[in-house]
């Protein structure tokens, strides 16, 4: 009698992120776009005016529907062409053999934006799989960026040394930032959510301090801006500077991280310890897994990956960091939490969800430029998708999906309980 409710409880938790993950995610995407369309319709003056006319002259309903469809269509078309491919531009390239750079630009932007997001989300996802909430990924990314940029801008050596060293220091910076909450959690029981959130602010303050301090600040500047990272420590564009495409070797780093994460979680002994600890801490302990060591290692790896993402961002696109590095727009480390959950904390899933979020963000900018609909709509859609993914029961009700068998259910993350 005492056993049955325990099983039910665990399974019901799993239902949260449950069955037929791919199907639910795709339907959540559809619903998210629908919610976005509702927002567009209710906030665009032209659409509202056309519907107001319907009250005085009912025959104009056709016109109103057309305006509505056009507005929504134009917004989503701009989003698609801005983030993936413009069919017209593509046709132009195919027929004339020219302008391939312009054709590839949207995809290049999406990949550029996705690169650090993938790396950070993998780090957050590994922590989730171990049952730990790493809300400090943003601070870890910032510290990784600072440390990496210091090495990249203040030391000078040939590229084959400089670039790996810069990336390694980025990882190290993030790992250091993760180590503190890890140690506090493991040895004092402090809740990692609180500690990581608070530690973010310590790091933001350190960032500002560092870019205003003489050795790191750009010489001759009063502003909060750092020296430029040496070309020998930069991640060069994949297709050369001349192509104008920003997609860079950071994507190679991200691919390696994804491969590592897959091996780590699915094949490595330590990853097995992590998953056992995440799924059942007491059984982990009884099986001889040292929970304290696991917690510290999780935060080292999770933090390190966030830090790597920070330096990849700095070394590939801006080549310097400033006082607002990664802090605006809620920060990459916070986006990574939703991305990891959307990708069910699996490396493969995270790649797809990062690409989706990147495409929505990049496409949102192009939508704003061409249709005047604010970029924030992208955030609305992103949030709506995550909400629907987190409530699969609702999605299943709406689309009348059949419930998947219990055996295929799986756990994305546990509760806040430590």
């Amino acid at each position: 009698m005492s056993e049955a409710p325990e099983v039910t409880r665990r399974l019901s938790w799993r239902r949260l992120y449950s069955s037929r993950p791919v199907a639910v995610t795709i339907f959540a995407l559809v619903l998210g776009l629908f919610v976005g369309a509702l927002v567009i319709v209710t906030t665009t003056a032209a659409v509202l005016t056309s519907w107001r006319h319907v009250f005085s002259s009912p025959t104009s309903i056709g016109h109103a529907i057309k305006i509505t469809a056009d507005t929504v269509g134009a917004a989503y078309r701009a989003m698609f062409t801005g983030s993936i491919l413009s069919p017209g531009q593509f046709w132009h390239s195919v027929t004339t053999g020219q302008g391939w750079e312009q054709t590839a630009t949207p995809l290049s932007e999406t990949l550029t934006y996705a690169t650090p997001l993938i790396i950070t989300s993998i780090g957050v996802g590994i922590a989730f799989q171990t049952g730990l909430f790493n809300i400090g990924a943003n601070g870890q990314a910032v510290l990784g960026g600072v440390l990496g940029a210091m090495v990249g801008s203040m030391l000078h050596m040939p590229m084959f040394l400089h670039l790996p060293l810069t990336l390694a220091c980025g990882f190290l910076g993030g790992a250091l930032a993760g180590l503190v909450p890890g140690l506090l959690k493991a040895y004092t029981g402090a809740h990692e959510v609180i500690v990581t959130i608070m530690f973010n602010y310590v790091i933001y303050a350190f960032l500002l301090f560092s870019v205003l301090s003489t050795p790191f600040q750009l010489p001759g500047q009063q502003n909060d801006i750092s020296r430029t990272i040496d070309p020998s420590a930069q991640l060069p564009p994949l297709f050369g500077v001349a192509s104008g495409l920003r997609v860079n070797y950071g994507i190679v780093v991200a691919a390696l991280v994804v491969l590592f994460a897959w091996w780590f979680l699915e094949r490595s002994s330590l990853g097995f310890d992590f998953r056992v600890t995440g799924a059942n801490p007491t059984a982990a302990r009884a099986s001889g897994i040292n929970a304290k060591v696991v917690i510290v290692l999780v935060f080292l790896i999770s933090g390190g990956l966030s830090g790597l993402a920070g330096i990849v961002q700095a070394a590939s696109t801006t080549h310097y960091i400033d006082g607002g590095f990664l802090i605006g727009n809620a920060g990459i480390g916070f986006t990574a939490i939703t991305v990891a959950l959307l990708g069910r904390n699996r490396p493969g899933g995270i790649v797809w969800s990062s690409l989706l979020f990147a495409a929505l963000g990049v496409g949102g900018r192009s939508m704003q430029a061409t249709t005047g609909i604010p970029l924030d709509l992208a955030s609305v859609i992103q949030s709506a998708i995550v909400l629907f993914v987190a409530t699969p029961v609702l999605v299943k009700e709406i689309f009348r999906l059949r419930t998947a068998p219990v055996a295929t259910l799986e756990l994305a993350t546990k509760g806040w309980g430590s």
Partner: protein, 502 residues
């Protein structure tokens, strides 16, 4: 109040937690409900308190059948319950806690704390339950918190008090004080239903004793019944268990526990100077009513609970206060009491659970990378050898039946090199077939010249498996007897009386 339960039956799915239970409590009577953990005591009390609805049977109060839809109904009919885990708000004062939900109010719906405080003083005085109404509950010792719970029930005019394992969390002095309170409440005409598995307390305070086991009333007894009779009523089992064992040929001692002292989660001494010796080719069975320190002893040996003093030696190697990893590697196999909490990861596959505590051992891993081929091969072999019923080795262990889950643990432990197998309640909740199977495995482990320490509160299991039987009571070993000893003799030890007198 005169309370009668007639034929109460409560089922959870196919499991019958209460099977046609009859019980009656007279005014001013202390009625003790005695039974092991999982016997169905708490279910019965939850039915009586309106938290669960009986499938059959009725509750009769003062000759009138009643139906409770929720606990509010039960409270209105004069039933009060003191839960094992207190339902108090730690940051509120005693007065605030007592009136919570039934606050006396002044004008504008303000809570009248003055009246609340006075009411509590009056009640405290009347029933000898001294406690400061202005004290914050979190700052009170557990014994006083319990008084607050009792006051809470009394302030709602309870005529019948249900005390669910009230002594589990108390120190001996607090227990004595509680007994006094119970007596004075009974003297004031209140009826008390006292739920426990501790024989001594029952003997000390109860007027009438009802023993339940596996959801059924096994019998009732007067307070004058002997403790050994009560003990065998509690843990006895009709099904006769016999295990074929080869002749007992013990080798030298491979596992020693010396003067072990261990504290429980509440910081009280749970294991109080225990010494044990287990020889090669021997099964030492540790008997005892649950809650007498066996759980803490097992956890301490497994490296999961700090040892205050004393030593544990395995094969000449000191493993006192070693980490679980080192203890496992030293050759201790552990079949934990709570298999779903300590023994398995329910969401992982059968194959992964079969290497749960040996994931790094050859051939399951090399240079930090798991060899999934070897893990699968191992799983295929063990599933076959140990007859684990699963559709596939990739199935999550959580979807297996309890018996097959236990087989996964037994298979895992017995398939790695062991010197000593320690099994805690190895057959709890299993069907007869699985019980036999697990017993055979333990005996064949012993027949191969290995040592085993079996902790069980099932008397029959202890007597069937043990080459020697040690009996634990109140954190101490009361005596070690041969399996030929009579049930009465063991029962007496389980009840805490030393064989050769004190």
């Amino acid at each position: 109040m005169r309370l009668e339960l007639r034929g109460i039956t409560k089922r959870f799915g196919s499991f019958t937690a209460n099977d046609r239970i009859d019980l009656s409590v007279e005014p001013g009577q202390i009625h003790s409900l005695l039974g092991e953990n999982g016997a169905g005591k708490s279910t019965l009390m939850n039915v009586l308190f309106g938290l669960l609805h009986p499938d059959e049977g009725e509750i009769v109060i003062d000759g009138e059948p009643v139906r409770f839809h929720d606990s509010g109904d039960a409270v209105r009919r004069g039933i009060g319950m003191v839960h094992q885990h207190f339902m108090l708000v730690p940051v509120f004062t005693v007065a605030e806690n007592v009136v919570l939900g039934f606050e006396p109010t002044k004008s504008f719906n303000r809570v009248d704390y003055k009246k609340a405080t006075e009411d509590i003083r009056r009640l405290s005085h009347q029933f000898n339950l001294e406690v400061d109404p202005a004290a914050r509950v979190e700052e009170l010792p557990v014994g006083l918190q319990q008084r607050v719970e009792i006051l809470k029930a009394l302030s709602r005019d309870a005529e019948l008090l249900i005390l669910d394992e009230p002594t589990a969390v108390l120190t001996p002095q607090e227990i004595d004080a509680l007994m006094e309170i119970m007596r004075s409440l009974a003297a004031a005409g209140k009826s008390i239903l006292f739920i426990t598995h501790k024989l001594k307390e029952v003997k000390a305070v109860a007027d009438v004793i009802t023993v339940i086991r596996q959801g059924r009333v096994i019998g009732s007894a007067e307070a004058s019944a002997s403790e050994s009779d009560l003990a065998s009523m509690m843990v006895g089992r009709e099904v006769e268990l016999t295990v074929d064992k080869s002749a007992f040929a013990p080798g030298e001692s491979v596992f020693q526990v010396r003067d072990l002292v261990v504290r429980n989660d509440r910081g009280l001494i749970a294991v109080n100077g225990v010494s044990l010796d287990v020889r090669a080719g021997e099964i030492l069975a540790l008997a005892g009513v649950q809650g007498n320190g066996q759980t803490e002893l097992v956890e301490a040996i497994a490296g999961m609970r700090p040892i205050e003093s004393g030593t544990i030696t395995l094969d000449g190697q000191d493993i006192t206060n070693h980490s679980p990893r080192k203890v496992l590697d030293a050759g201790l196999g552990h079949i934990p009491e709570d298999r779903q909490r300590d023994g398995l990861v329910l969401s992982l596959s059968v194959a992964d659970n079969l290497v749960l505590n040996t994931p790094r051992r050859a051939p399951f891993a090399a240079r930090g990378t798991r060899n999934l081929g070897a893990v699968r091969e191992n799983a295929e072999r063990l599933v076959h050898d140990f007859d684990i019923r699963t559709t596939s080795i990739d199935e999550a262990v959580g979807s297996l039946s309890g018996g097959n889950q236990q087989k996964v643990i037994v298979a895992r432990e017995l398939s790695r090199p062991l010197r000593v197998l320690m099994a805690s309640q190895p057959t709890r909740g299993l069907d007869v077939g699985s019980i036999e199977y697990v017993h055979r495995q333990i005996v064949s482990h012993r027949n191969q010249g290995n040592a085993a320490l079996i902790v069980s509160s099932e008397l029959d299991e202890v007597m069937a498996l043990g080459d020697r039987i040690a009996v634990m009571f109140d954190g101490r070993i009361m005596g070690v007897v041969e399996p030929s000893a009579s049930r009465e003799e063991i029962g007496l030890l389980m009840a805490g009386s030393q064989v050769s007198g004190e």
